[in-house]
Amino acid sequence: MAYMSEDTVEHPARTPVARPVGARWYPTLDRIPDGAVVAGVCAGLADHLGVRVTSVRLAMVLLATLSGAGVLLYAALWALTPSGAAREGAAAPDGRERRRGMALAAVGLAGSVLSIMLTTATGLNVMVPVLVVALGAGLVWQQYDGGGRVAPRSVVDWARVTAGATLVVVGLAVVVLGQVEFAALRSSLLAVLVTLVGVVLLSIPVGLRLWRSLEEERAARIREAERSEIASHLHDSVLQTLALIQKRSDEPGQVLRLARRQERELRQWLFGAGSRMSSGATTVAGAVEVIAGDVEDAYGLRVDQVVVGGDGPVGEVGEAVLGAVREALVNVAKHAGVDTADVFVENDGRVLSAFVRDRGCGFDPEAVDGDRHGLARSIRHRVESRGGTVAVRSTLGRGTEIRIEMPLEGE
């Protein structure tokens, strides 16, 4: 293809782009499905040779007029070159370029047909069916080409496959009916059929084994992907935390906090499937976990939480109750003088109840100071404005328990 060298003007869009990962060190010829009018052969060739697509297409058309050499070359390249990965810079052809490409393809095809007819004196009665079959095959090939997307999805895909198949069948039928006497056909047709059945029967085990090994390979790939995901997760979380703990081994408070946080994250990762609904909404159990985690991080208060019936969505009244739970926990952290608290949240279908309990210093509810009064109010306000009740029980020296109950009717 030396005659193309006169046209080696570097197209800005064709400057070599970074090769995708896994590319070989030497330049390879890939088809470019993104730049495709038919199958991306010309675009790939142009990219590989560093020339403009249009010149490659023109060359193909010229070759096609040499008794269809261009068409054969195109088909061969289509079949033998891999479909390259999508690349930046190889933008999909716009409407004008696509139309021009289509026109060139049509010209090439027509040229090849004409040249074959002229040089070999073949009549239209042969050329037309061959052309029809080629078109149909091209359509179907295009559908099943690249991307691993074997099953047709959209209406357009189906239309394309159907049209292609119809063209092939019609073309072949015309060839067969036009050339062969039907009476002589029966026995040979039967022979072909029997042979086909035999081949199918014999090839079943091979096909099955191929299918099974493919399945196994896929399963192995999935396992490997999972393993590497777990490894990277552990590296990003657990190993980092362990490194931090080693560095801060002289600060027990920090170490404790790091360990608790890591434990929580890991639990969330391992068992956290129930923390979100399939719709993406946070469940009550998940929300309580988040609240407990926030308070632990912010105040160093260890929260032991127990949730019963907590796999429904939080909902509006749930927000109110859980907001109150958070306030109550912050209260414990600030005033109770202890470093642990128990939280119990239960949804029995009718009532959402929450209990926050500590074994701290407690207080006399009759003689509360302003700050505490205010907070109790913010808890009360959230819950009571939505029809719930709040009870505070506290004994000096034995701790405090806040009980929240919210009817769930109307949810």
Binding site: M277, V307, D348, E401
Partner: protein, 239 residues
């Protein structure tokens, strides 16, 4: 649970089963200074544990839930046989009692060891004092409910109970399958972090009665019909 009753005379002989040697030595050290508790052996695998328990004949086995080769459930099945109901009667206890000790958060696993015969479940973050109390308690034939276990059991029974939408299904032996309101009350208080003594005060009953309720709940969890709890386990997986 600082209000465990005093053990009369003899110290409880404890056997540790955990596949982490570091954790075993930690528990050993924590229990070393505790009165009424004596560690007499340990094992790092299911097979070792079964052999060791048969040889040493301990009173209490502290059992890890998650181990290779079947975990705590495998040890329980092998030592107690397939009928966990037997250990509900501490009077005939030539076999040891089991206390599950785990970091596991998966409710199904915890309920599984209880159903296989463990008398209680505590998490590994428990303090040495609390652990010693729990050991003394199971040695006495009581059940040990950490708040978390109480929550799991409440959840299990709430879901296993036939809901309004499937009334058509036959209800299996309601006597075994459901908890009494009082038992639910006790479980809720346990889940809220109350000790047995605090529950007794709250409900104006004796600590002994609370212990009886706890034991009954444990027995019901162990004996409740397989079908109902299977459904519960499935519903957890489907969510």
């Amino acid at each position: 649970m600082t209000d465990a009753p005093e053990v009369d005379g003899r110290a409880s002989r404890v056997f540790l089963v955990d596949d982490h040697a570091v954790f075993r030595s930690g528990v050993r050290a924590e229990l070393a200074g505790q009165a009424g508790v004596e560690v007499v052996g340990e094992a790092g695998s299911v097979a070792e544990a079964i052999a060791g328990i048969g040889r040493v004949r301990p009173d209490v086995v502290l059992l890890d839930v998650h181990m290779p080769d079947g975990g705590g459930v495998a040890v329980l099945r092998s030592v107690l046989g397939s009928d966990p109901g037997r250990v509900a009667e501490p009077a005939r206890a030539p076999e040891p009692t089991f206390l599950a000790l785990s970091v596991s958060d998966a409710a199904e696993d915890v309920i599984a060891v209880i159903r296989a015969g463990a008398r209680g479940y505590v998490t590994k973050t428990i303090s040495g004092d609390e652990l010693a109390d729990a050991v003394r308690r199971v040695a006495d034939g009581d059940a040990v409910f950490s708040p978390r276990l109480a929550g799991f059991v409440l959840d299990a029974f709430a879901r296993a109970a036939p809901g309004p939408e499937d009334r058509g299904e036959p209800v299996h032996d309601p006597e075994v399958d459901s908890l009494t309101p009082r038992e639910k009350e006790v479980l809720r208080l346990l889940a809220r972090g109350y000790t047995y003594r605090e529950i007794a005060e709250e409900l104006f009953i004796s600590v002994k009665t609370v212990e009886t309720h706890a034991s009954n709940v444990l027995r019901k969890t162990q004996q409740s019909n397989r079908h109902a709890l299977t459904r519960w386990a499935q519903s957890r997986h489907l969510d």
